[in-house]
């Protein structure tokens, strides 16, 4: 199972027949394991990491840190769930340290993102304060480096 997960994490597009060859299992076994992993929610989604800068798409990302004051009965999960509902919000994490929640927000311009935070996030009752960091450049995204690949430096034939 873990082996299949490691393979899929590296290459979500991989064909089950190939996973079968890589793991020495039958294709039927692999397909049923994958189905199990999907059904149980261990595999959440198959996702592409896209270098939007290269496309020329004007996306702007910001990391927003929030201080939260919890209401009487509501916990972090509740406010996090609420914030997660916005399409602009790409990730929501509970963090340790000065702040409580950390969000990544995507918009088309600085104004876009700033207004979104001002209108939709800061106005939430539990949000005490926000700090916004605009992302200037992304070098590595979810384990994938976005630098150009280096050429192999090995000699062609060695003993």
């Amino acid at each position: 199972m873990n082996e299949i997960l490691e393979i899929i994490e590296q290459d979500p597009k991989i064909d089950p027949a190939e996973i079968a060859r890589l793991t020495g299992q039958s294709e039927t076994e692999v397909r049923s394991s994958i189905k199990e992993l999907e059904d149980s929610g261990i595999i959440r989604k198959y996702k592409a990491v896209i270098d939007w800068d290269k496309v020329g798409e004007e996306y702007l990302y910001a990391i927003i840190e929030l201080k939260i004051s919890l209401g009487d009965r509501s916990g972090y999960d509740e406010i996090a769930r609420r914030i997660s509902n916005f399409n602009e919000v790409r990730s929501v994490r509970l963090i340790s340290g000065d702040h409580d929640l950390s969000l990544t927000v995507r918009g088309h311009s600085m104004k876009d993102v700033a207004f979104f935070v001002a209108e939709k996030i800061s106005t939430l009752e539990q949000v005490q304060s926000t700090v916004t960091h605009f992302v200037l450049k992304t070098y590595k995204e979810d384990g994938v480096t976005l630098f150009e690949k280096d050429k192999s430096k090995r000699l062609a034939i060695t003993p």
């Binding site: 490691e6 190939e18 890589l22 793991t23 192999s152 090995r154 000699l155 062609a156 034939i157 003993p159």
Partner: protein
């Protein structure tokens, strides 16, 4: 040049250039070649290890180290062999840090071989052993392992090769070029013969971490064998550190002392920055190493199945990162096959006879290449066999 004298020594003249070289010259200058001829990892050294090397430079570690190597490294080596195999090598006088297993093998031979002594090597195996034996003044005696026996060395074969002049055996498993491994039971046969004839065993286990079905047995861990074994290992393959040049020899104090004597006069020490990287690798490198091993294993399964599907009979290699398919079914020799495959489809493999006559009829294909490359190589081989 008006040169009448023959300056090159007879000993060196007696050694033919490596067959690898000839093939390298063919490949070089060709574009778009997929090379399965590389005897080293395609991974670069894990970053945390490279960083340890960089830090050591930043901190100004650019001097010689003690001849035996940094004590901290020898301790890390000792600990790692204790963890993995329950061995107890004393960092003070039983471990020598060398510039790779290559130097360690050379030192071992020079430390023990007298002129005329015979040293047994099994073939197919790594290309350096026979020349190193000759350079040390000894006589190589070859034992050929076979496909039928999955390229393992047997006690009976060994017995046959022994003469009153036999001093040592070089044992090299997991094996380059065949990918063969020896089980504990297989190794015990060798151990029995070694005891019976009072032989020294030089065991090159540089691929010990790269085994895929079952754990490697270290020769020195067999009953009583640590007293007659020079154990060679290093980080080149396990931690993708070939160019860093660190290895180590372990053995009885008198033999390690003799090797140290040669080493201190001829090499002084292994590069200090590489030694510092090695400490990091041994103490903190397990998880990245294991990830590489898992990756090799996947490639191995895909590639070996692929070869067999093409009709190139290949036994299951359980160690290192080589597959050793037979080309017998094609009617070609290894060299013909390799040269034609390179010319027609631009896939480079190494003819098996480069690693000894008994490798004739086979190819060494390294699967230390990306899955993409391995798949393309298989497609091209299919076209070639078409």
């Amino acid at each position: 040049m008006n040169q009448t004298r023959q300056y090159i020594s007879d000993r060196v003249n007696a050694v033919p250039p490596s067959g690898i070289r000839k093939f390298f010259d063919l490949v070089i200058g060709m574009d778009d070649v997929i090379s399965l001829g590389v005897g080293e990892p395609d991974f670069v050294t894990p970053w945390h290890i490279r960083e340890a090397c960089i830090y050591s430079l930043e901190k100004g570690f650019t001097s010689y180290t003690s001849n035996a190597g940094l004590l901290e490294l020898r301790e890390a080596v000792s600990d790692s062999f204790h963890r993995d195999y329950g061995l107890n090598y004393d960092p003070e006088d039983q471990i020598l840090v060398t510039t790779g297993v290559s130097e360690a093998a050379d030192l071992a031979l020079r430390a023990v071989v007298n002129p005329g002594d015979e040293v047994i090597v099994h073939e197919p195996s790594y290309v350096s052993y026979k020349p190193s034996i000759v350079f040390s003044g000894g006589t190589p005696v070859v034992v050929s392992t076979t496909r039928e026996n999955e390229f393992r060395l047997t006690g009976a074969q060994l017995e046959e090769a022994i003469t009153p002049k036999t001093k040592a055996i070089i044992l090299s498993y997991p094996n380059n070029p065949t990918g063969a491994v020896m089980s504990k039971k297989d190794l015990e046969e060798v151990a029995d013969v070694a005891v019976e004839h009072d032989l020294l065993v030089i065991s090159d286990e540089v691929y010990d971490k790269l085994t895929y079905n079952g754990k490697h047995t270290c020769f020195s861990s067999l009953d009583g064998m640590d007293e007659r074994t020079i154990l060679l290992n290093g980080l080149s393959k396990s931690h993708a550190m070939t160019g860093m040049r660190v290895g180590y020899a372990m053995g009885p104090p008198d033999i390690i002392g003799a090797m140290l004597l040669i080493h201190q006069y001829t090499m002084l020490c292994a590069p200090i920055n590489s030694q510092m990287g090695a400490i990091e690798a041994l103490n903190k490198g397990d998880s990245e190493m294991q990830a590489m091993v898992r990756e090799y294993n996947r490639r191995r399964r895909l590639f070996v199945t692929g070869l067999n599907d093409l009709g190139l009979d290949c036994f299951e290699p359980r160690g290192a990162f080589y597959a050793f398919p037979s080309v017998q079914s094609t009617g070609m020799t290894s060299s013909q096959f390799a040269e034609e495959l390179l010319n027609q489809q631009k896939v480079a493999v190494v003819p098996g006879d480069v690693f000894g006559e008994s490798g004739a009829g086979f190819l060494r294909c390294s699967y230390a290449s990306s899955l993409e490359e391995l798949k393309t190589a298989l497609e091209r081989m299919e076209k070639f066999l078409g």
